[in-house]
């Protein structure tokens, strides 16, 4: 550690903005501040600062995503074993999944971080930590059979158009990870839906098990095949096909507990999203005209990306509502709209993604109304005293 510090101090001058490797100034700084929290001390304002920084916040997010990621990796193997009709051990399934998922994660980080570093250098900014989380969420939103070049393309799109075009981390309107998925959904729909996308197919010399279809519960439900939708228990545990990280409600809940305990994500948004989803679900139950509308409202919370979206994406502080009151409204509408899209529009089985992106667009409006109320309160107080002056 002392040796590393000495080494960094030794090579640091070479990376000064006008030195030999000045083009890598931001990159160097990013790595230096990763190894060592800077020795910067306060010079104005408060003399003490809280221990929290953005790195820690993002790291907590990554820890919270880990259960869903690990389960997803195992599930890739498990679903494949079902597809080929074999019984695999835990490690066998996990190992198989790792080989499939790891490349997607590597590609997502490599592409995203390269663009981030390049932009930071170009703008003479420091590298923001935001992509550390987006870079992990993107793979978890992907179907396992996605070609790697598509992951690269979608990540590049998300970071360039979704984030850098708006000015980088903190300035974006849409959740970058969801943009990556939406991009692929509309550009390459055949890879993002249907029965072939979700489960690694049988390789050479293997045969598919007869009864296995590989369709997600949402796809079955949208097709009206309610008898084929997995049991609530299987959906809760995550033993179903789906995007890599979204299937296990249990694993996501573990992450949610951590996020709420540490205060990194807003429990208000999570709760109101669930309430919104349930509200729409019960409304469908009351007015059911088809089998999909009649399924118990709470089943929707277990299906597809609802839980993943509610916990990890609707709560993205940058793209969600930023006022405390606005968060309640925003979350409720996310949950409500997700079910509307999911149930009433068979063309888009995954309503959560579109619902969150839609509400991302409306979040500034919600905040505008909430802040406007405070402005009006102040103006009213003003007119109440005005006659006295």
């Amino acid at each position: 550690m002392r040796a590393l510090r000495n080494f960094i101090d030794k090579v640091k001058p070479n990376f000064a903005p006008d030195a030999k490797f000045g083009a890598f100034h931001s990159t160097f700084e990013a790595f230096e501040s990763m190894f060592f929290v800077p020795d910067k001390v306060t010079s104005k304002g408060c003399h003490i600062r809280d221990s929290i920084d953005l790195k820690r916040t993002m790291f907590t997010m990554i820890v919270a995503l880990t259960p869903a990621m690990l389960f997803g990796i195992w599930n890739v193997g498990y679903q494949h074993s079902l597809a080929v009709g074999e019984t695999w051990s835990l490690m066998q399934a996990f190992g198989f999944g790792l080989l499939k998922v790891l490349p997607i994660i590597v590609v997502s980080y490599a592409v995203g971080l390269s663009i981030e570093f390049a932009f930071a250098q170009k703008r003479k900014h420091q590298v923001n930590e935001g992509f550390l989380v987006s870079g992990l969420i993107i793979p978890l939103l992907m179907p396992v059979n996605i070609p790697l070049w598509m992951v690269a393309l979608a990540t590049a799109f998300a970071v360039l158009i979704g984030k850098e075009a708006f000015g980088g981390t903190g300035m974006n309107i849409f959740n970058p990870a969801l943009l990556a998925r939406a991009f692929l959904f509309f550009a390459y729909p055949s890879h993002m839906s249907g029965e072939a996308a979700w489960v690694v197919p049988a390789g050479e010399g293997q045969t598919m098990a007869d009864a296995f279809t590989g369709a997600t519960p949402l796809a079955h439900a949208a097709a009206g095949a309610m008898d084929k939708v997995a049991s609530a228990y299987d959906m809760f545990m995550g033993y179903v096909p789906g995007s890599i990280g979204e299937t296990s409600t249990l694993a996501i809940l573990i992450g949610a507990v951590l996020l709420i305990a540490t205060g990194v994500a807003s429990w208000k948004i999570m709760l109101s999203t669930v309430v919104g989803g349930l509200a729409a679900g019960y409304l469908f139950n009351l007015t059911a005209t088809n089998a999909y509308m009649a399924i118990p409202a709470w089943h929707h919370l277990l299906m597809g990306g609802f839980a993943f979206g509610a916990v990890f994406m609707a709560t993205d502080p940058v793209t969600s509502a930023q006022t405390e009151c606005g968060k309640w409204i925003y979350g409720f509408l996310v949950g409500f709209m997700a079910l509307l899209i999911r149930v009433l529009n068979p063309a888009y089985p995954e309503g959560m993604m579109l619902s969150i992106l839609l509400m991302n667009a409306f979040a500034p409006l919600i905040d505008h109304i909430v802040v406007g109320a405070s402005i009006r309160r102040r103006a009213k107080r003003q007119t109440a005293v005005a006659p006295k002056n």
Binding site: V37, V41, K44, H47, L54, V264, R378, A379
Partner: protein, 452 residues
């Protein structure tokens, strides 16, 4: 039981080094200073030169725009130095005290028998006027203006703050006379903010002719700005004044004894002070006289702060107390690299967020230092400022309006209601390490230029 106003938002930072309630009477300091930089909205013009002899209460400098506002010497002695900073701006006017203290005589009066003009004139001449702060903007009050009300917060909730009850004891009569004088200045009320967490002291319960309000809750409940917002928020066009309780006592003494008696109780606190205590001293005293036994050494450099760790000013040991300050905080400097600091479990790292394991250690207090614990970033995390900001204000929106220079929006979002100290906790908790207080002052200065 009177109504208690409960402040729910806020934060008591668990920093070690509270002053022990022992009152020490040290030798007189080697020098005393008045610093123009302690006042916003003032351009100083010197009334003395180095070498001049002054009495306690003699003018050292005056405001260029409003020459009737003078800043007087807290002690009698010789003007030793005029310290100048960048562009020759006056930083400090330093006075070396005489062994025998001589005071300017301003006459003994009963404030109740004087007119408002006579009270104002007496305060202006004696140098007590600059103890009145105007809200909005936190500048020295304007003698031409009638404030809506006057507010005094009788307790301080800032980290390591002095126990006001202890510091004020025994000066009840001066306090009451000071209140009578203040009542002459406004047609409105004089409001006292009193801490409801402890029984009211004899001094405060004996004070009459004021509106008392009882507050309970974490910092910034003791900030006068928070109390104003709870009692009667400042609207556009309104002006209120505030005064610190130790200044009210000085004001009372002016009428009771006819002199500018700037003696006050000051505390030393923080882990850098080996015996944090209370000292009977005088406004503007040189710090090293009060810091004997501080643990500053080369192994562990310390930062000396005149004021509290959230809003105070960094000083050398040979520097002087700020005009408004009754606390000297000494905390360790944090100039070190921390290996993977963001990755550690953080048992020993205090955070108002719950991102470190230290949040499991309830009641634990920490030796906090001046390290940034990160780097400045764009705003990402939301809802953080709101938790420590007991105002009907959206702090991040206000800060962004200031950054954007949108004057109308600053006004709409409540810039008249806050000064730096009210948003200092926002800066402390900020994940993105935004310099909230500096930005806010920039906004306030913009508003002042705009309205001038």
């Amino acid at each position: 039981m009177p109504k208690i106003i409960k402040i729910r938002k806020g934060l008591n930072i668990p920093i070690i080094g509270d002053a022990e309630k022992i009152l020490v009477r040290p030798k007189p300091s080697a020098s005393y200073a008045v610093k123009p930089i302690d006042f916003w909205g003032i351009t100083p013009r010197l009334c003395v030169e180095p070498g001049d002899t002054v009495k306690a209460g003699s003018p050292l400098f005056a405001d260029k725009q409003r020459p009737q506002i003078v800043f007087t010497s807290p002690v009698s002695g010789t003007v030793a130095d005029v310290v100048r900073g960048e562009r020759r701006a006056i930083q400090e006017v330093v006075v070396t005290p005489d062994a025998e203290q001589i005071h300017e005589q301003f006459g003994i009066d009963e404030p109740a028998k004087l007119s408002r003009e006579q009270v104002v004139d007496k305060m202006l001449r004696s140098g007590l006027w600059p103890h009145l702060t105007q809200r909005p903007f936190g500048v020295v009050a304007d003698p031409e203006v009638q404030p809506r009300d006057i507010y005094i917060s009788c307790f301080d909730t800032a980290p390591l703050a002095v126990d006001m009850d202890f510091a004020l004891q025994g000066d009840g009569k001066s306090f009451q006379v000071g209140i009578e004088a203040l009542r002459k200045l406004t047609t409105g009320e004089v409001h006292l903010g009193i801490c409801a967490d402890y029984p009211e002291t004899r001094l405060l319960s004996g004070i009459k002719n004021v509106q008392k309000h009882y507050f309970s809750g974490p910092h910034p409940a003791g900030n006068v700005g928070v109390q104003i917002a709870q009692i009667s928020p400042i609207n556009k066009g309104e002006v209120v004044w505030t005064m610190r309780p130790q200044s009210v006592i000085m004001l009372g003494r002016l009428f009771l004894t006819g002199i500018y008696d700037a003696s006050m109780v000051v505390a030393t606190a923080g882990s850098g002070v080996s015996k944090p205590r209370y000292f009977q001293t005088t406004q503007g005293a040189r710090l090293d006289g009060l810091l004997e036994g501080a643990t500053t050494n080369a192994d562990r450099p310390m930062r000396i702060i005149s004021g509290n760790v959230l809003t105070g000013r960094k000083c050398e040991a040979t520097g002087h107390l700020g005009f408004a300050d009754n606390l000297i905080s000494v905390i360790p400097e944090g100039k070190y690299h921390e290996f993977f600091g963001w990755l550690t479990p953080g048992f020993g790292k205090y955070s108002a967020s719950r991102n470190f394991l230290s949040s499991l250690r309830i009641g634990k207090r920490y030796d906090l230092d001046t390290n940034y614990h990160g780097e400045e970033r764009a705003y990402v995390v939301t809802g953080q400022y709101e938790k420590v900001m007991p105002f009907d204000i959206y702090p991040v929106y206000l800060i962004k309006a200031i950054m954007a220079g949108d004057i109308e929006r600053m006004e709409q979002l409540g810039i008249y209601e806050v000064i730096e100290e009210d948003m200092a906790l926002c800066e402390y908790v900020c994940t993105s390490k935004i310099e909230v207080q500096e930005v806010l002052r920039r906004g306030i200065n913009t508003m002042m230029t705009e309205l001038a």
